[in-house]
C-alpha cells in the first residue's frame, strides 16, 4: 500500500535531525476535498494520506517559507523541509532549483509515483450530495469510491483530470525517496490547441473576450502557481501601474496575458491555476499554447532536466527568428 509506505518514509524523514517539518496531504473536512498537512517532528503522522484525490500542488508552501533574517539564526534551525511530491511537482521543483528560487539542499523530497488525479469538478458533478469525507482507491483502471456508506466503481478515464491524460512525467524526476513503481507516461498531444489555432482571429477574439469578461481578478491563479514567486508582482505595482485594479475586460486581458507570458517556457502543466479558478476560465489553454510553442520551436520542455538553462535566458544562432521582420 502506498499510504503505508508513505507513512513509513515520512516517519523516517521526520526522525532526521535536519528536517524541520513535513508537508503532505490529509483528508479534507468534507466530501472529496483534500487539505495540506504540516507535521513537525514527534507529531502524529496518522493523518497523512495519498489518494487519487490529491490534486493540489504542495510546492507553493515551500516557496512561502520565511527565511530567517540572519545567517546565525538560519544555521541554528534545522533547514530542510520534507515534501510529498508527485511527478508534476518535481518538475516544478526542478525548475525552481534551476532558477535558484529554492535550494536543493533545503528539500527532502518524498516522491510518489502518481497515476493521475481526479478532477474535483468532475467528481463533484457526479456525486453532488456527499458531505462526509469520502475514500477513493484505484484498482485495475477503475476508481472505487466509498461515500455515504456506499461503494461505487467508476472507470478511471471518466474522472481523471484533463491534464493527467496527457501527462508525460507521472514518475517524480528528482527525489530523495521514491514510493511506488514507475508510472507509465502518457503520450503528450496538443490537439485542442491546434484546433483552436485554426480558427479565424475574430473568433478567437470573441472567445477570449467572453472568457476574460468573467475574470474577477481574485488572483487565485497567480497565488497558487508554484512558479509565480516574485516578491513584487507587476500586478501589485502602483508606480508604474501596468494594469489597473478595476475589473474590466481590457485589464483582465492584460493581466492574463502578462501572467501567461511570465510562464512562457516555464509552465510545467500542473493545472493548479485552472483548478482554483472560481470562474472556470480555461487558463491552461493559454499556458499549453506556450508550452507547445516552446516544444515545437525550441525543443524545450520546462522542468525536465535540472541542468539545462531556462529557455528565455538562452540564445542560439539556430533559433527560429520568424518574428524579426
Amino acid at each position: 500500500m502506498i499510504v503505508q509506505k508513505l507513512k513509513e518514509e515520512a516517519a523516517r524523514a521526520l526522525s532526521r535531525k535536519d528536517v524541520k517539518y513535513l508537508i503532505g496531504y490529509k483528508k479534507g473536512s468534507y466530501g472529496f476535498r483534500i487539505s495540506p498537512i504540516f507535521i513537525e517532528p514527534k507529531e502524529d503522522i496518522d493523518k497523512l494520506t495519498f489518494s487519487p484525490l490529491c490534486n493540489m500542488s504542495l510546492v507553493k508552501y515551500v516557496m512561502m517559507e520565511e527565511t530567517l533574517p540572519t545567517l546565525t539564526e538560519q544555521a541554528m534551525k534545522p533547514s530542510k523541509i520534507a515534501l510529498v511530491a508527485r511527478g508534476c511537482d518535481t518538475r516544478a521543483l526542478n525548475l525552481l532549483i534551476k532558477e535558484k528560487g529554492v535550494a536543493r539542499d533545503k528539500l527532502y523530497i518524498i516522491g510518489v509515483s502518481c497515476t493521475g488525479v481526479i478532477d474535483q469538478r468532475k467528481i463533484e458533478a457526479r456525486f453532488p450530495e456527499v458531505t462526509d469525507p469520502a475514500d477513493v482507491i484505484e484498482e485495475n483502471g477503475n476508481y472505487i469510491i466509498t461515500c455515504n456508506g456506499q461503494s461505487h466503481t467508476i472507470p478511471k478515464e471518466e474522472l481523471l483530470a484533463d491534464l493527467c491524460t496527457v501527462c508525460q512525467y507521472p514518475t517524480p524526476l528528482i527525489y530523495d525517496k521514491l514510493i511506488g513503481d514507475k508510472a507509465a507516461s502518457r503520450p503528450a498531444h496538443y490537439d485542442e490547441i491546434k484546433e483552436f489555432e485554426q480558427l479565424p482571429v475574430e473568433e478567437k477574439l470573441a472567445f477570449w473576450q467572453q472568457q476574460f469578461s468573467k475574470c474577477i481578478r481574485c488572483y487565485a491563479c497567480r497565488n497558487v502557481c508554484p512558479l509565480c514567486y516574485s516578491t513584487i508582482c507587476s500586478m501589485d505595482s502602483l508606480n508604474p501601474q501596468w494594469v489597473w485594479r478595476s475589473v474590466d475586460t481590457s485589464e483582465n486581458f492584460m493581466f492574463q496575458i502578462i501572467r501567461t507570458f511570465h510562464l512562457a517556457g516555464r509552465c510545467i502543466s500542473c493545472g493548479e491555476c485552472e483548478r482554483v479558478c472560481p470562474m472556470n476560465l480555461p487558463l491552461m489553454k493559454l499556458n499549453r499554447k506556450l508550452e507547445k510553442d516552446a516544444k515545437e520551436l525550441f525543443g524545450y520542455e520546462s522542468g525536465k532536466d535540472p541542468e539545462s538553462k531556462p529557455l528565455l535566458t538562452t540564445f542560439h544562432s539556430e533559433d527560429p527568428q520568424g518574428f524579426i521582420l
Binding site: 482571429v201 477570449w208 493559454l286
Partner: protein
C-alpha cells in the same frame, strides 16, 4: 512566442513587430515605419480591449 500568444488570444499579429535597426540605417528605419503604418491602416483600430477613460 509573445506574437504567437497574442495571435492565439485573438489579436492581429500585424500589430506587433520587432526589427533590428542600427543608428546608421535611416532608410531601413523609415521603410519599416512606413510598412507598419500601412499595415495598421489596413486593419484599422483595435476596438476590443479599449481601456475605459477615467
Amino acid at each position: 512566442m509573445l506574437r504567437n500568444l497574442l495571435e492565439f488570444s485573438g489579436i492581429n499579429p500585424l500589430r506587433l513587430r520587432m526589427s533590428w535597426v542600427s543608428a546608421s540605417e535611416g532608410k531601413k528605419f523609415a521603410d519599416i515605419i512606413t510598412e507598419i503604418t500601412q499595415d495598421l491602416k489596413s486593419i484599422g483600430p483595435q476596438k476590443a480591449y479599449l481601456r475605459k477613460a477615467v
